[in-house]
Structures are given as structure tokens and as C-alpha cells.
Symmetry: C2
Subunit: 292 residues, 2 copies
């Protein structure tokens, strides 16, 4: 049980965390700060936070649990802002979609308080953003990746795991490097492809008319293209090497299929499609895959 959550960033993820923590009966009071004052006001009006703080430092002040829910590029500045308020017994987490850059930022900014910090990535989200979409059940049945540093205190790591599990999440621990490689493949690249697919159509004459004909396949395929631009700019830049490497692997697979189409090699094309289709048909979110 925490006395006070200091929530820095009252968007979809931060707001959902506050609601979920409250729903789990794990917090007495939520003090929130957002860069935009209107967001902080809205968060209080919606009951996501109890008290508006005028700065990240004041949101962190007196908190025994601090959550950074800001675009990953803002992590270092935010940690520096709150650094002087930290005590060894305070648990600090982030929710960033990349972890190597967050870990580096924490190393540079937290110094002797580095042991408080448990880097976290809840594999949840929606294509809409904003506190008005916050949902106490957003993390239920979702995976949360924790990427502790060598200096992270075990007590904080275990408490972090307990918090997420109390919200219904499944916790997985791995290194920041392994995390960033994996999520380049299964999240960052798919977002990049969805953005590029939209732009590829929009760049054509009558692009909007083409889109008007699209059906449910396109709807689902392109859903993530509606994601928050500032957040995804940061993610793609922070994890650029892994993202570009994954894009290369993807383009090789695409080129291979294109040349089968060009050659009219139906048999090999069907084999390539079947390879993808069988794997996807057997895939279940958040469970170890057969063949591992």
C-alpha cells in the first residue's frame, strides 16, 4: 500500500496507471502533474488524480511511488527535476516503450538514487491518447516488461512486480538490450510500417478516395497508424538502430515475396504466405509460442 502516487504525465498510460492502482486498493492519494495545465485540471475533474501539482518536482514531493509517464525523450530532464526529492525508499518507475535510452538517462541523472528506479514497459496502449481515455483495466492480462539495472534494489524490483501483478498484468524481466531488440521487431517496426502504409496511399492522387473503399482488414492493419506522433517520434529515434535493422529484415522478406509475384511462382508464393499464415493463426497474445 502506497501513501501517495506522484504521477508525472497524466495521459492515457499515466491516467490508466493511477486508476488501476486505485482500483487495486494500493494507493491513498494521487498527486499529478502534466506539462499542459489543462490536462492536469482534466485529470482531477475525471477523478484520475486527487491533487494538481504545478511542477514535476511538487508531484514527486512526498510520494512513496513515482510514475513517469512522459515521452521517452523527456525521461532524463524529468528525472533531473525530481532528483533532489528522492529518498532511497521511494519506488520510481517509467512506462517507456524503449528501455536502453531510459536506462542510460537514469544512470546519468539519478546517480546515488539509481537503486530506486525500476524501468517498466507495459505492453498496452491504444491508438487514442489523452487522460479522457484512461482505463483502470488497460493493463489487465497484458505483459509488463521490467528491465532492472544492476544497481536496482531488489526490494524495489519486487514491489514493482507486485504493483503490476495487482493490476492484472503478467510481468516479464529482461535486459534493456533484449527488450529493445524484441520490441523493435514486434512493435516499433509495425508502427513504422503502418505509418508508411498510410503515407504511401495518402501520397497518391485520389488517396482519400482509395481509403474510402477500405474494409475491416485495412481497419485493423492500420489502427496503430493513428498513434501519438510525439511519442512515436521519440520511440523510433531512441531505438533507431534496432528499428532500422528490423526494417531491413522486413524488406528482405518483402522483396523475396515481390520477386515471387513478379515471376508468377504461385507455388513458392503460397508457401511463403502459408509460413506467415500458420504462425499468425497459432499466435496467442502474451503466451510462449510453440516452437520456442
Amino acid at each position: 500500500m502506497f501513501q501517495q502516487l506522484g504521477l508525472i504525465g497524466c495521459g492515457l498510460i499515466g491516467g490508466s496507471f493511477a486508476l488501476a492502482l486505485r482500483q487495486a486498493g494500493l494507493v491513498k492519494r494521487v498527486v499529478g502533474y502534466s506539462k499542459s495545465p489543462t490536462t492536469t485540471v482534466k485529470a482531477r475533474q475525471l477523478g484520475v488524480i486527487d491533487i494538481e501539482a504545478p511542477s514535476a518536482l511538487l508531484a514527486a514531493s512526498g510520494a512513496d511511488l513515482i510514475l513517469l509517464a512522459v515521452p521517452v525523450a523527456a525521461t532524463e530532464a524529468t528525472l533531473r527535476n525530481i532528483r533532489e526529492m528522492l529518498k532511497p525508499e521511494v519506488l520510481v518507475m517509467d512506462v517507456g516503450s524503449t528501455k536502453q535510452d531510459v536506462v542510460d538517462a537514469a544512470r546519468r541523472s539519478l546517480r546515488d538514487m539509481l537503486g530506486c528506479f525500476v524501468p517498466a514497459h507495459p505492453v498496452a496502449g491504444r491508438e487514442v491518447s489523452g487522460v479522457e481515455h484512461a482505463d483502470a483495466n488497460l493493463f489487465r492480462d497484458r505483459q509488463v516488461i521490467l528491465t532492472p539495472l544492476e544497481r536496482t534494489q531488489v526490494q524495489h524490483l519486487d514491489r514493482a512486480q507486485a504493483v503490476w501483478e495487482a493490476m492484472g498484468s503478467k510481468v516479464v524481466r529482461m535486459s534493456p538490450e533484449a527488450h529493445d531488440r524484441a520490441f523493435a521487431a514486434v512493435s516499433h517496426l509495425p508502427h513504422l510500417l503502418a505509418f508508411a502504409a498510410m503515407n504511401g496511399v495518402l501520397g497518391q492522387e485520389q488517396g482519400n478516395e482509395l481509403l474510402a473503399l477500405a474494409g475491416p482488414g485495412f481497419r485493423d492493419f492500420s489502427r496503430i497508424a493513428a498513434s501519438d506522433p510525439a511519442m512515436w517520434r521519440d520511440v523510433l529515434l531512441a531505438n533507431r538502430q534496432e528499428v532500422l535493422a528490423q526494417s531491413k529484415a522486413f524488406q528482405q522478406a518483402l522483396t523475396a515475396m515481390e520477386s515471387l509475384i513478379e515471376r508468377g511462382d504461385g507455388e513458392a508464393l503460397e508457401r511463403a504466405i502459408r509460413h506467415a499464415s500458420v504462425a499468425r493463426a497459432h499466435w496467442r497474445m502474451g503466451t510462449p509460442q510453440s516452437g520456442v
Copy 2:
């Protein structure tokens, strides 16, 4: 009201059409044929068809409405098979995802019966196939594209439109060429990208372990990768020129974003993402887009 539907191909789409037609009170009897006899038996047991036919010809025999729901590459052979049973007053439709090749096949095979044929593409489907997934409401609120030939009889075209509208579909008429260009952009290419994205990950060491970490974004993005391999082999080959042209447009958009990532140009990257994001956030399935 039709006396008898001759259903050739009792899969997801064919089966759903039979159920929807029955639900709309538009047919007395459904005679069905599938290449695989076990499918035909299953279709009867599930109440999708009333009578099993041992051949396409016998399914068509006595029907006043014939639906071809077979992979597009099988269209020509199927039309040749049933050609001798056709009378001018019989309405014949297909449900293929490509239309130029279907129209060409009809021209070659139907000759003086070409006026019976109304090429149709219901923009509906699921990533699962098979008659056991047939659904009387599959076409409700979905667009159906009709691409009549110059020799299509107006009475058949109007009846075709009335049939789909009775199932709750919105009917759009366009030329086969315009259809194939549009669906290369908003359906065929997205499928190709989803297949390639799966294969790009599967081709990596520990590909299955990476997939185990994927979340809801990947789930929706990759759903269409589970689609039927034989059907999509045919679609990608039948519409290869438009698909490859769309793939080129996509790759240009991807390369442009990659170079912004490489250069670390956050401002331009955010602009490119926002371009996609705003368009996708405002997109609504099956409605004219703002900006058209």
C-alpha cells in the same frame, strides 16, 4: 425472391452469402458444391445448404441465382463448367477480391451468356476460413463493389444490387480497373506487408520468442497475415502489376521515414507520423473521406 441458389464454393464467403440470403427471405433452396466433398457435407450439416451437388454443373442446374465463391484463379474453369446450364434470366455473381482477371475470364468463357454476369466483391472477410465460420451478418454494413461489363444486363445489375442491399451491404459501382487499383492500395498491399512482416520476424533467430512478447498493436496489425494462403496467392498474382506499383509507393514512404530516423530529424519525422496519424484517426470504414 429466388427459387434456387446454386452455390459453388462453400467456404466462409459462399456460406455466409447463403445464410444471409436465407435470412433476408430471398431464397427457397440452396444447392451447394465444393471441391472437397467433406466441405459440402459439413455445409449441409450446418444448414448452410439444403442439397449437396456432386459437381459445379449440377449445383448450377436449375438455379436462378448462381454464386461463385472460389479462389479467383478458378473462376474461368468454373464458368466454363456451368456455361451450358446458363439461361439469359439467370443471375451469376462472383465474390473475388480482384476484378479485372475475373472480367477477362468471364469474357472468354461465357460469350453469349456474358450479360448474366455481375462481378462482385464484398469487402468483408475474416482471417479464418471455412464454412464453420459462415455468418449471416458478415456483409452487414460492409461495402460491396460491383464492376459490371458493358454487356452486363441492367436487370441483372439491379437485381444484384438489391440482393446485396437486402443483406445490409452498401453497394458501390466502378470499373474493374479502378477496383483493382484501389484494392491493391487498401487491401492487397496491406496483406502482402503483413505476410512479409511475419516472415521477417520468423526468419530471425528466436523469432518465436520475439513474437511471444507482442501486444495488442501487433495483434491487430498482423491479423490479416493469418488469411487463407491459396486465396491470397491468387489475388496477389492476379493483380500483380497494381500490387507491385503500390508496394513501390509504400517503399518510397518507408525509405523517406527511414532516412529521417537515420538523420535523427525529429521534427520532420513527427510531421510524417502526424500526417499518417491524423488521416487514420479521421478515417471511418465505408464512408467518403473528408478531403475527397
